[in-house]
Amino acid sequence: MIYEQLAGNLVQGLVLGAVYGMATMGLSLIFGVLKVVNVGHGAFIMVGAFVTLWLFNSLGVAPILAVPAAFAVGLALGLFFYYIAVKRLLKGPELATLLATFSIGVLLEELIKLLFGSEFRGYNWEVGKIDLGITVLPMSKLYAALGSILIAVLLYLWFNRTRAGSAIRSVVEDSEGARVCGVNVGAAYAWSFALGIGLTVASGVLVTMFIPVGINPYMGGGYTLKAFVIAVLGGLASPYGAFFGGLVFGLLENGSYTLFALIPGVEPFALTRFFSFMILLVILLIRPTGLLRGK
């Protein structure tokens, strides 16, 4: 009985982790290629959430189909912000890109608040549940997890089988060498940034499929922290590391919540979030380059 519960917990954690991991891939990609830390990361997830909300409530589009739309929105936003801000700051002090991405996040939050208001919203996508024996999983969560895995696989294939993907990998290895070989390094940076943002906005859709409530302009903040914990877990520069880091984090978060819930007199939700912060600090102390290898 206990094992069943534990196994059920495990599955829930992995499913959650897949979505978390996918939500972090964009962050790691941008850091890996441009060495820029996107402090406004959570805001882009929030944008994806609102895209889903709007498409579902206004046009009745099923969330799973909102993913490509969100991705496109993300690409556009990414290119826009790259050319007006990020590009000019790449050569300057680190402080500049940190503050710029942070401000971009604030800007997005305020814009969305202006357009949609700051109340908490949600949607209801009823597609039933699936009984896995050890645990019961809403289909929407399963779709979210499968979608995450699919995107991770597609990204892998794109990086390793296409010319564009190889061009970007070469820029990461040695930008001067790549330039000499005819790779348009500037474009590579721009498209990498755009791709990273696109992935992040798309992940917002999957996140809402997992948690279709509490959507508001300021929801991004909590996800930014989680994303950083995951990114640092998996190696800040590796998107695949981020995915596996997400799985680990999903397990840890789920497990710690269950554990804290057993302790009387504490609030498990809050403590779990404190716990993730502690993990972040510990890893930054011992191994900032990440616990998992893999590029």
Partner: protein
Amino acid sequence: MKRDSGKYLPLIPVFAVYLVLFLVGDNISGMWQLMAMLLFYCALGQAFNIFLGMTGYVDFGYVAFMGVGTYGMAVSITGLAHYEGLGFLVIVIGFVMAVLFSTALSLAVGAVALRLRGAYFAIATIGVNEGFRFLIEGARIWNGSEGMIFMAELNKILGRETASALATYWVDIIVLVIAALAATVTLVYMRSKIGYALTALREDEDAAKVMGINVTKFKIIAFVTSASFAGLVGAASWALKTPYVFPPEVFEIHYTVEAIIIVLLGGAGTLLGPLAGGLIYGLSKYYLSIFLPGFQLLIFAPIIILIIVAFPEGVVGMIKKRFRDTALGRYII
């Protein structure tokens, strides 16, 4: 060379501005609230500038220090309320507690985070707000997520009238003093070895190390100083003005955003920068709230992006360049 008196000249414009703000608020009816708000932003900016401006590191978790400062005052008030006859001493102790708490938290965070470079440091601080807020809520420290309300205790300690006068007038004077103190400390640092070390490590941390500068030590000095002032501001502007403390409010990242805007707008690393930034931001927010309430961040976010890209030295930085070689230049630093 008898130049010692010249060292602290740049404080004159700072104190002059604060004096003007006070006089305007005190003598023109209806202006006190606005002046108080401007003073709050100036104090916040001066305090934040000691770290962001002088080291070039960003602490995204800054508001946490204001938060624990608020708790310091709250704890003092609720803890000492039942001792008869302490009166104002409770407030003084409250400020001491505020500084102790914020110093303690900054040492704890700093010990871990300040060993990390630029981006990693920023990442570490992103979670400090969250982390600390959820620790308080999760472990039910100081009443956890219910927060503390101490209006009754404050009235009991000071008497209803005094407490009210404190909240509406004297607190703002205290904030003015804090702002002036922060500016003074900033200048003292700038003129001392601490300032030189901080400039060196901000410009080129590795070269600074090789020149004999213990960069971690100086980062900690700036970090803790900045945090202590944040604690004082929180204790005054939050705990004493509105006698309750509620975790989601005092750990609201919004204030860190405002601090960043103020310092960048005015000119990071300059003495007058936070002053200019505080005034510009405060006035804008005040007047915007009449026509377009809640819009100030929406308007300032793109302005900040513009500043970062095109005018990184801020308003005072640009003025400083213009007047660099003139007599006026000695006052604008």
